[in-house]
Amino acid sequence: MSTPTAPAKKTNRLGFDILPYRGGKTTLCAGCGHNAVTERLVEACWDLGVEPWRVAKISGIGCSSKTPAYFLGQSHGFNSVHGRAPAVATGALLANHELRCVLVSGDGDTASIGLGQYMHTLRRNPAMLYLIENNGVYGLTKGQFSATSDLGAKSKGGAVNAFTPIDCCLAAIEYGATFVARSFSGDKKQLSALLRAALSHDGLAVVDVISPCVAFNDHEGSTKSYSYMKDHEEPLHDIDFIPFFNDIEVEFEEGVTREVSLHDGSRILLHKLEHDYDPSSRLNAVTRLHQASDGDEVLTGLLYLDRSRPSFTRTLNMVDRPLATLPESVTRPRREALERINEEYR
């Protein structure tokens, strides 16, 4: 079976080389997991042939939230305030539902200060990629525990976290996201396939990526370090992604590979590892996540997919043309309408 990851050709379907998909030079620490995630995102957007001008990159505050400056340099970016990127992204989509929105957040940004907005964004299911670069600490403020730190995890200074973690994927499945995945910044192939699938989904696609912080959380006793992930990552399946414009025939064996198609005709191939896994079952997903964390494993892969719920802007029954571009003749009611209302209050 052919894997369509990073083909050797130089231009994508729009005729662009990789350059427009790159951004400014990273200012993050060498070895930071976030840098690897950025690279995968660059490749994924290039590979899908995403139009750079159509993308809105939106983030909160944190090392992770800085990364929109390092990819898609031609796109509009918005580094907003800590924990509130979801509202900004939702607003942007209200103005223009044709934007392809990429939201980048951290575990502090999403699960600590921004938890409220995160939960409500899950409920609304706006169409965007919601990327959480999860390192279990506040990188930018120098290593304090975040709300995703595991119970008993050790900080660099030796403190032991006494509180239970918030699992952003569990919340996402529970409260309404329609594409939920977990991955690891070091798992190039899986992350790449998941990002391309997430970018092709018409709904809220939450991708929680364990992305180690080499400066503050990569030591013995950390549950978000490279070595911990090497030992504890438990992939649900092997994943391939076939974009809609690639109509190759794939043969796969029943019972070994599942094919899931997305709204735009793209396909995800899930190759069975130890157990078969059906991502359309919410209950199953939740159970497997609990089992994994009880067994000190980090479950990765496509956890949950729901293709039936409409995205937020669709539920609002707005005109097809983006609100941002409506002319005055459409947005300002006529003189007679005002006269009628004046009459009503007379």
Partner: protein
């Protein structure tokens, strides 16, 4: 006892319990006086409660057109057993009282005129169905008052029909019977013993009755607002609700029935503000409405909006704070806050509407200002203006076209070969922007709340920071020339000036008349319509020996805001008049305080 009649110059105070359905009876009474052509205002003084606590409604009729709250009560309608005694004891001598007979109030004082009405007995006659009696009982006092005051009964009928609309004919009829029962009881049993009288005038030709929130909502719809985000809070909820109603009626695509707008009830005010900024950034005409507690939550985003230069309209229907304060009472509580809200150096333009016409026109203007200057803009209403019914001239269709400001299109970028987001090309401090989704490889730029240079690149350099902040100041100066000038009543023989904003105008205008008529003190007055202040304010202050600044808050916030902008040599001339009890400001409070400070009491 028939003293000289007091014609078209009195206040009625109706005391009931919250949730007892008195609103309709009060509205009909107010509207009948309005239809008699007499200037009138109505104010609901209600508790933060759904049912049970005492509530008052005051109606003021004034041939001279004074529509601020009148401190003295001339006619009390005492329906609430809980407050009746207290209400009666607080009256000035000579006032009249209509009361529910079993309350037996007549013995309380001998310097008042009492009218006892057996409401329960009368309502039984009107309404055989016991369950419905509560709903029409209050309408009886409308009939009693109409008779006592000489309001033409046809006008009451018309007001009632207007109130219930075409659809609720049966309910209207039952209420009409209650009015008639009150009227005929009064005519047969209550000999007129007070001097109050309504006589037909012709002051209200063409006028409407509407509350400020509805007017502002309508203004937003006619401004072409496309995104409304909100989180419910008194006294701003009714603005959002009115707007949702108007949008549903006026802003559907005629062919598809689809909406040309989006409304989101957000999870809190932080999210509401964030959505406004996201939408404004991406090219919508976005707005939210809230009150003080919501502003506190929006504070971080408002600074981002100022610094990242994103348009958005923020309507603040102010209530009494700090904290939850008196949530159903009025205050100019955020005058200073809104001008500078958020950390660091921030400045926001404010509009100060004083009546429904201005709620409409300023809400409309605010969207143009926000997009022209790429910044959050406040419209400061208060509870009194937002939630009470006011007489209003009909709304005028916006003259100015929708102005989307300096937005570059693909063609512009093609022609220019690119752009620098924060470069002051035109010297007015206002840079050019592009919208996300503009198909051009030079359209994109990076928006951030961190330091940036003219090309929107991250920068921590002191020179870049200062240059950017100075440009933002230049932009604010440009705004100064684009907002409405104050309304000035210049009196060449006055050495004393009075300054106010928003709803304080009613008390100010009446107080100036009181000072002249009763104490011989001539005054000029100036009503601010917007912040930043224009030069005419400086001129006004220079032209007077002393200038009194009226504030509906404890800390003299308008005065403080003036001080921030003002030539220090002028500060010595400024005095403060403050009221912060939560009731709409009345003229006596203002004239009394000015007289006291002038030493002429």
């Amino acid at each position: 006892m028939h003293a000289t009649p007091v014609v078209n110059d009195f206040s009625i105070h109706v005391a009931t319990a919250n949730g007892s359905g008195s609103q309709t009876a009060n509205s009909v009474l107010m509207r009948s006086i309005f239809q008699m052509g007499v200037p009138v205002s109505g104010k609901n003084l209600f508790p933060s409660n759904i049912a049970g606590l005492p509530t008052w409604f005051t109606i003021r009729a004034s041939r001279k057109g004074y529509i601020g709250r009148k401190k003295e009560i001339d006619l009390l309608i005492a329906m609430n057993p809980e407050t009746a005694r207290e209400d009666v004891m607080a009256l000035d001598a000579g006032a009249a009282v209509v009361y529910d007979e079993p309350l037996a109030l007549a013995g309380l004082r001998d310097d008042l005129v009492f009218y006892a009405v057996p409401f329960d007995k009368l309502v039984t006659g009107v309404c055989p169905e016991p369950k419905l009696r509560k709903l029409v009982r209050n309408m009886i006092y409308t009939g009693v008052a109409a008779h006592l005051l000489g309001i033409e009964i046809d006008e009451v009928r018309k007001a009632l029909v207007k109130q219930f609309g075409e659809r609720k004919k049966k309910t209207a009829e039952m209420n009409w019977q209650a009015v008639l029962a009150g009227q005929s009881y009064a005519s047969e049993n209550l000999p007129k013993a007070d001097p109050l009288k309504v006589e037909r005038m012709d002051a209200n030709q063409g006028r409407l009755i509407i509350d400020g929130n509805t007017a502002a909502a309508l203004g937003c719809v006619f401004a072409g607002a496309t995104v409304l985000t909100w989180y419910p809070i008194t006294p701003s909820s009714s603005l959002a609700e009115a707007m949702i109603d108007f949008l549903g009626r006026l802003r559907q695509d005629p062919e598809t029935g689809k909406a040309t707008y989006a409304v989101v009830q957000a999870e809190d005010e932080l999210a509401a503000a964030g959505m406004v900024l996201g939408a404004g950034w991406a090219g919508a005409r976005a707005m939210t409405c809230t009150s003080g507690p919501g502003i506190s939550l929006m504070s971080e985003f408002l600074g981002l909006g100022y610094f990242a230069e994103i348009p958005g309209v923020f309507i603040d229907v102010q209530r009494v704070g700090p904290s939850t304060g008196l949530p159903t009472r009025t205050m100019q509580g955020d005058t200073l806050t809104n001008a500078i809200v958020s950390h660091g150096d921030t400045r926001h333009p404010l509009y100060f509407p004083s009546n429904p016409e201005e709620c409409f026109s300023m809400a409309t203007e605010a969207f143009n200002l926000a997009e022209k200057f790429q910044t959050p803009v406040f419209v400061n209403l208060d509870l009194d203006l937002g939630m009470n019914n006011w007489m209003s001239d009909p709304f005028e269709y916006p003259e100015l076209p929708v102005d989307r400001g300096k937005v570059l299109s693909t063609e512009d970028l093609e022609r220019l070969g690119g752009f620098s987001r924060y470069l002051d090309v035109d010297g007015d401090g206002v840079p050019y922007r592009t919208l996300p989704g503009t198909p051009h490889d030079k359209a994109g730029y990076f928006t951030r709340g961190t330091g940036h240079d003219e090309h929107a690149r991250y920068s921590e350099k002191a020179e870049d920071w200062i240059a950017n902040m100075d440009r933002l100041s230049r932009k604010f100066e440009s705004i100064r020339g684009a907002i409405p000038a104050p309304e000035v009543r210049f009196n060449p023989s006055a050495r004393v000036g009075v300054v106010c904003c928003g709803t304080s105008r009613y008390a100010m205008e009446e107080a100036c008349d009181q000072l002249r008529e009763e104490l011989g003190l001539e005054t000029s007055s100036l009503r601010l319509k917007a912040y930043p202040f224009t030069d005419s304010l400086n001129e006004f202050i220079k032209a007077h020996d002393r200038v009194y600044v009226i504030d509906q808050n404890r800390d003299a916030q308008l005065l403080a805001l003036m001080k921030l902008d003002m030539d220090p040599s002028l500060l010595l001339n400024l005095r403060s008049v403050r009221y912060y009890g939560g009731l709409p400001l009345d003229a006596r409070t203002v004239s009394g305080e000015i007289a006291r400070q002038e030493g002429i009491q």
